[in-house]
Amino acid sequence: MAAPTIDHTLDEILNLAASHFKVPREKLTPDDDFFKTLGIDSLQALDLLTRLEQHFRIELPDYELQGVSDFRTLASRIQARL
């Protein structure tokens, strides 16, 4: 099966983040700083990472998130593991 496109991956991340952190989906854009937009700290970021790993059925080491704070870059890190 072909891997989903990066746009599809990005869309799924935004949907999951909006749903879990109870933020209106239309308020999230790919270049948002997710720490600020979602109002989360590092513990909640780890929670998000775990949910994303489960959703995409991948393992994404947290060091790959070092310095990553926007959804678009996060999507590219996930895409590289699909």
């Binding site: 720490f35 700290d41 513990l43 780890l46 775990t50 949910r51 790993e53 947290d62 070092q66």
Partner: protein
């Protein structure tokens, strides 16, 4: 209040349906500092009497953030600032020897011990789970040995116990990358026995404790002693290595950086 029930500042215990439930509840995420150590020592002292009325021990956290974020690095750093380096090192060694006594007593308990973990299970918190016979994890649990980020190795007995339970290649991966990993990985490598739905780890642990209670206590204790040797020599060696590393200036700087970090990413590498 008697030895069968205790309500402390950082933890509490009680016996429920034949299982001792040791609940951690120190905000923010059960960081293990001097008060937690004192209360764990009190628990270990009470354990032989408790064991007369129980067949299992469940260790869990009542805090949403997780099981435990590990050693209280803020306390460690601040105490070191209040004394000269030799005294600080003696203090660290003393703390490690005391926490090792606690961990060894839990490890050697004749009861069947179950860690019911969720969320952050890092460093010393991970090491506390590792002394247990069975780890039951909420599907949102995350495990990590982040000590190398600070220029240290795990100091509460983590490496010898990981080596006892897992393959050496896995131990190297977890230790040398300092990465956190989820329950799927934890179960795949043989660390986690059962995965529970979100918020259900304690319930699953209670069901497991109930099953354990069907068997003869003396037989269960004999079986445990046979399959779970305690690596005392390596545990002692771990304290020496930790103390050698701790006395370097780079460690003080690493701790300072962690303690003074007001950013949003202190738990990310």
């Amino acid at each position: 209040m008697n030895d069968l029930n205790f309500q402390g500042q950082t933890l509490s215990w009680q016996i429920v349906n034949g299982a001792i439930e040791l609940a951690l509840h120190r905000e923010a995420c059960n960081e293990i500092g001097s008060v937690t150590l004192e209360e764990l020592e009190a628990f270990v002292s009470a354990l032989p009497a408790l064991a007369n009325d129980a067949h299992a021990l469940i260790i869990h956290s009542t805090l949403k953030a997780g099981f435990s974020a590990g050693a209280d690095l803020r306390e460690l750093f601040q105490r070191a600032q209040e004394m000269d380096k030799a005294a600080a090192l003696r203090g660290v060694r003393s703390f490690l020897e005391r926490i090792h006594s606690v961990m060894n007593a839990l490890d050697a308990s004749p009861l069947t011990t179950i860690a019911a973990v969720h969320g952050v299970t890092f460093g010393g918190g991970f090491e506390l789970a590792l002394v247990c016979d069975i780890i039951i994890a909420d599907r949102m649990a995350r495990f990590c040995f982040p000590e190398l980020r600070l220029g240290l190795i795990p100091g509460f007995g983590g490496i010898p116990r990981l080596k006892r339970d897992l393959g050496n290649a896995v131990v190297r991966d977890l230790l040398l990358t300092g990465r956190s990993f989820n329950v799927m990985k934890a179960q795949q490598i043989g660390l986690v026995s059962q995965i529970a739905a979100e918020g259900e780890a304690l319930r699953v642990a209670r069901a497991t404790a109930s099953q354990v209670g069907k068997f003869d206590k003396r037989t269960a204790a004999a079986a445990k002693e046979f399959v779970k040797p305690i690596p005392y020599a390596e545990l002692k060696q771990e304290i020496d290595i930790f103390c050698d590393l701790y006395s370097r200036p780079a460690v003080e700087e690493g701790l300072r950086k962690f303690v003074e970090n007001e950013g949003v990413q202190p738990y990310l590498p």
